[in-house]
């Protein structure tokens, strides 16, 4: 059932694969941000209603997507850690959490900056905004719980449970704008009858979304590698002391 990915659960094999992917992730991050920012700041047109303010969307929407994506990664890792006890899954989940929390914060902050001129308020307690704030707290709770135990394994296990339970919030965030009336607009890109964003604005949006994804992969690989190396150093020191 988990034969193909057990292969990558071996930390040494992971390090080997990631050393190939990492430089590419770095290159893609810079290239996509370069092109994406050119498109979103200069080439794409202003919106017929919002004018230039629409450009906030090119940071806001990819951040929000990444916030949900990172949480989903974290939940899958937590599930496979609890069920199959893969230590690497635990590390990937743990190293994804702070990145996801930053994306969530970025989505909330840019949304607030857009809301003030467009809606007339920085913040409103509607279903979308509130569930997104809950997501930020789930990330922070996960990070805190991870560190709250002297025994690392117990901390990882408790955090994994929180991540799984909190995963229920992800579909709530996605569908909050359909289930309840909210101030936040409904989905524009991923909906049944196709996107309602003009292609001249969809291009920069997707470029930025890909840039964010490449950036995440780059950051994650660096973080996981340092964690694995730090583990090796600790074990080496312990052996030295024992000798």
């Amino acid at each position: 059932m988990n034969v193909w990915f057990s292969k990558f659960a071996n930390p040494n094999r992971f390090l080997k694969v990631s050393s190939v992917i990492e430089p590419w992730a770095t290159r893609f991050t810079f290239a996509l941000f370069g092109v994406g920012l050119c498109f979103s700041l200069f080439i794409s047109p202003p919106d017929y209603q919002q004018g230039e303010t629409v450009r906030i969307m090119y940071v806001h929407v990819p951040s929000a997507w990444m916030a949900l994506f990172c949480y989903t990664v974290m939940a899958i890792c937590s599930g496979s850690y609890l069920i199959w006890k893969h230590p690497l899954a635990s590390i990937i989940g743990k190293e994804t959490a702070p990145i996801g929390a930053c994306f969530t914060f970025l989505a909330l902050a840019t949304g607030s900056l857009w809301g003030q001129p467009m809606w007339g308020t920085w913040w409103v307690w509607d279903a979308r905004l509130t569930s997104m704030l809950v997501l930020l707290f789930l990330y922070l709770g996960y990070i805190a719980l991870q560190e709250a135990f002297d025994d690392r394994v117990r901390g990882s296990r408790a955090a994994a449970v929180i991540a799984l339970v909190g995963f229920l919030n992800v579909p709530i965030i996605k569908f909050s704008v359909d289930w309840w009336n909210t101030l936040h607009q409904p989905a524009s890109v991923f909906k049944m009858d196709g996107p309602s964003i003009h292609s001249s604005m969809l291009t920069p949006l997707f470029l930025m979304a890909l840039a964010f994804k490449a950036y995440y992969i780059w950051l994650l690989l660096v973080r996981v590698r340092s964690e694995l190396v730090a583990g090796k150093v600790t074990r080496w020191k312990q052996r030295k002391v024992a000798d």
């Binding site: 047109p45 202003p46 919106d47 017929y48 209603q49 919002q50 303010t53 629409v54 969307m57 599930g79 609890l82 069920i83 199959w84 001129p117 467009m118 809606w119 007339g120 308020t121 409103v124 307690w125 509607d126 279903a127 799984l164 339970v165 995963f167 229920l168 709530i172 289930w179 309840w180 009336n181 909210t182 101030l183 607009q185 409904p186 989905a187 524009s188 909906k191 309602s196 964003i197 003009h198 001249s200 604005m201």
Partner: protein
């Protein structure tokens, strides 16, 4: 049964049960989660006159009357019913005819006295030229 599978079923069943519980709770709390009431809801079951609530809908076409001292009057409609709203203050950028709006305030003599107006943005994004073309072709469905 192997312990791995035991854990797998435990996690899967646990998540399904938690999902059901969350669904029931959210369903029961629906009235508190919705941000605003529509004009029809307000007419059908009027909230107590002393209670503040949010009224949401679309600004009716041709209903905006701007008075002195930044006072503004307009009708909020949901297609079947509409309610007159009076407000004094600065309006958000997106406030315009046939555009979604959320007003915070209370009902006084069947008039909604708002002390905050929020504009709702819809899910359509396009450059001004495209909006012009669609309007010219007479296929415009959104607001103006």
């Amino acid at each position: 049964m192997k312990r791995k599978y035991k854990r797998l079923y435990f996690v899967a069943i646990g998540l399904v049960l938690l999902g059901l519980a969350t669904g029931l709770i959210l369903n029961a709390l629906e009235e508190n989660i919705v941000l605003f009431l529509s004009p029809s809801q307000v007419v059908e079951t009027p909230p107590p006159s002393s209670k503040k609530f949010r009224l949401g809908g679309v600004v009716e076409r041709g209903s905006i009357i701007k008075g002195e001292n930044a006072q503004v009057e307009f009708r909020v409609s949901d297609g079947t019913t509409s309610i007159l709203v009076i407000y004094k203050g600065i309006l958000p950028d997106l406030f315009r005819e046939k555009q979604g709006v959320v007003a915070d305030g209370k009902m006084v003599d069947r008039i909604f006295q708002a002390d905050e107006i929020l504009a709702k943005h819809d899910e359509n994004y396009m450059p001004p030229e495209v909006a012009e073309t669609i309007k010219k072709m007479g296929q415009w469905k959104g607001q103006e």
